[in-house]
């Protein structure tokens, strides 16, 4: 019997646009630019389209926040090899810093957000520094513990507003700024990180993931590279946390909650790890879903976890990787 097997071949247009001749025709330019334009345009138009449904305009903000945390997880896990199980830590630290800066020290909102992202990034990096020297599961374990720890400390010492949280943060001047600020931040982070991972330092980071001994042998300090990566990721996470605190005009213990830890991980797994865009695509699917499931309360965490495990087992490449492959390649049956 004649055996057949499936073969994947790059599309012609993919090969042509790889090279120097990418700009030789409109079709090829569109082939390269269209997916990116779709994403950017889609995000920019989203608030306008949803003008009819004011509730969902707020969901956009939440969606972007989750997407940013998911990007930070994806960056750390798939480009540096550090699994961060506590996304809630970044959100909480960013939110509380911003609350302290804005509510206690009266620093205006547009300074307090970047400043708290910076301070939060430094703070989180210092927290993680002891376990960056080691490889293995230590980082995952420690990141799992910190959000629980901070919740306990704030409860026990009754500092920073205790269980009530800090109230009275400034809100954004109007809803358009609220929407577009986070969308722009998301797009900048998305394309910035995609650029970064292909720069020199990004290559070194990926090398740290694949073979840290060889990086060390090249005379590069692995701990230093890892701490830079953790700083970038926690900066991004704290930025979204600070934004969230200002959005709710409140910073409380729920910023450390498990939602911020598990949903981004699920989003990355669903969207496809290692592509950074996958994190955004995953959040686009999961966050609206979670709004529909609001009725279930904490059961949503169970649902995310199950989705995550199902995707890990059945379709571990994720949606975005699959789509990219379909976009660039076609399949055919050939004789063996």
């Amino acid at each position: 019997m004649q055996n057949k097997r499936r073969e994947r071949i790059d599309r012609g247009i993919k090969v042509r646009t790889d090279g120097l001749y990418a700009i030789s025709s409109f079709k090829e330019i569109m082939y390269l630019v269209f997916p990116r334009l779709l994403l950017i345009g889609g995000f920019l138009l989203l608030p306008i389209v949803l003008e009819l449904a004011p509730y969902w305009k707020r969901v956009i903000n939440i969606l972007c926040v989750y997407a940013i945390i998911a990007i930070s997880f994806d960056f750390l896990a798939n480009f540096v090899g550090l699994v961060c199980l506590g996304g809630g830590l970044f959100v909480g630290v960013g939110g509380y810093f911003s609350a302290i800066l804005n509510s206690y020290l009266k620093i205006p909102i547009f300074f307090s957000i970047p400043l708290s992202a910076l301070l939060g990034g430094i703070f989180c990096t210092l927290l993680f520094l002891p376990c960056l020297k080691l490889r293995g599961v230590y980082f995952a374990i420690v990141t799992l513990m910190y959000p629980l720890l901070f919740t306990r400390i704030i409860e026990a010492l009754n500092i920073l507003g205790g269980t009530n949280g800090i109230t009275g943060l400034d809100s954004f001047p109007n809803q358009h700024i609220e929407n577009y600020l986070i969308i722009l931040i998301l797009l900048i982070i998305l394309f910035g990180l995609r650029r970064l991972v292909n720069e020199d330092i990004g290559l070194v980071m990926r090398a740290v993931k694949d073979n840290d001994q060889s990086v060390k042998a090249s005379g590069i300090n692995v701990t230093y590279i890892k701490s830079i990566a953790v700083f970038i990721a926690s900066f991004i996470g704290c930025l979204s946390g600070a934004y969230l605190a200002h959005l709710y005009m409140w910073a409380g213990l729920s910023l450390f909650s498990l939602d911020f830890s598990i949903l981004p991980i699920a989003a990355v797994t669903v969207g496809g790890g290692g592509s950074i865009v996958g994190a955004v695509v995953g959040s686009l699917i999961l966050v609206p879903l979670s709004e529909f499931l609001r009725f279930f309360g904490t059961f949503r965490i169970v649902i995310y976890s199950l989705i995550l495990v199902l995707f890990l087992v059945l379709k571990s490449e994720g949606i975005m990787i699959y789509l990219t492959r379909k976009y660039h390649q076609f399949e055919r049956w050939v004789d063996v």
């Binding site: 199980l85 002891p130 513990m145 598990i262 991980i265 965490i301 995550l308 890990l312 087992v313």
Partner: protein, 288 residues
């Protein structure tokens, strides 16, 4: 004296819990973040069997431990076996399963202080002027029995030796015909059984609460790291350190600080001696 006796009891129950985590890690190299979840699930399931189905205590205890073993085995057989070797996915998967179990129980009605398991042996006794109830002594007793059982099991049975072989050198063990997946399943079953048994012994001292799942996970991780991931003797000794530290913080500060102490201990250990007190891992493997 009180501190000494309660510290001893606390340490032994802690080492019981931590033994399960470190057992699974040392054999399958998978940090089982669902460990605390199995602990809570066993307690809750025993409660359901006793109060809703009116089973005898011992039948429900045995059934719930079996359930815990079954869940543990299924976690490996259905999920982890497919993503073996992908470290990121392994960590995420056990974490997600653990969260799903814990939060599912919370949603399923495990709230408030209404869930208690009965003590097996009621009453109390005075030792050196300190009043200790029998249940705590029973916990110590069961702990010692389990240690002894494991010592004999690992030293003298074929399965035990195979487990030891996998833990020491997976490749060499596979060359000698030991199935690493089968052994990993065995390790998951044993780990979950220990989690279940310790839940049945420790829960009667208080209420069954969901938060216990997180606490157990955090403390068993702390113990395993301080003792050196994968080292069983280290885990026992580290649980004495953490156990006494817990009691001391409870007496002199407040219970809220217990987790702070655990995390501080982890961080100090990672800074000074990353492979733990009795870590078998070679320094090169762990340090970058």
């Amino acid at each position: 004296m009180q501190i000494f006796i309660y510290g001893l009891i606390n340490s032994i129950s802690l080492s019981l819990v931590a033994l399960g985590f470190t057992l699974v890690y040392s054999i399958s190299r998978i940090p089982n973040f669902a460990h605390g979840a199995l602990y809570v699930a066993t307690g809750y399931f025993a409660w359901i069997l006793m109060n809703l189905f009116h089973f005898n205590y011992f039948i429900s205890a045995i059934l719930s431990v079996f359930l815990s073993c079954f869940i543990g085995a299924m976690i490996y057989r259905l999920v982890l076996i497919k993503i073996r070797g992908m470290e990121i996915s392994e960590v995420i998967a056990t974490y997600a399963i653990g969260l799903a179990i814990i939060e599912g129980l919370r949603w399923g009605g495990l709230r408030g202080a209404t869930y208690t398991l009965p003590v097996i042996v009621p009453g109390s006794i005075e030792i050196f002027g300190v009043i200790v109830d029998y249940q705590r002594l029973f916990a110590v007793f069961v702990g010692l029995v389990i240690f002894l059982f494991f010592y004999i099991f690992i030293k003298f049975t074929k399965t035990g030796l195979a487990l030891k072989g996998i833990a020491q050198d997976e490749r060499a063990a596979m060359m000698l015909g030991i199935d690493s997946d089968k052994m990993a399943i065995v390790s998951f079953i044993l780990g979950s059984a220990i989690a279940g048994i310790s839940a049945l012994i420790i829960f009667p001292l208080g209420n069954i609460v969901v938060e216990a799942g997180y606490n157990v996970l955090v403390f068993s991780i702390a113990v395993s790291i301080i003792g050196g991931l994968g080292s069983w003797l280290g885990a026992v000794i580290a649980s004495f350190i953490i156990g006494y530290a817990q009691i001391l913080t409870e007496v002199f500060l407040s219970t809220h600080y217990q987790m702070v102490i655990a995390l501080l201990a982890i961080i100090i250990t990672l800074l000074i001696r990353p492979s733990g007190l009795f870590g078998k891992q070679k320094e090169l493997e762990e340090r970058v």
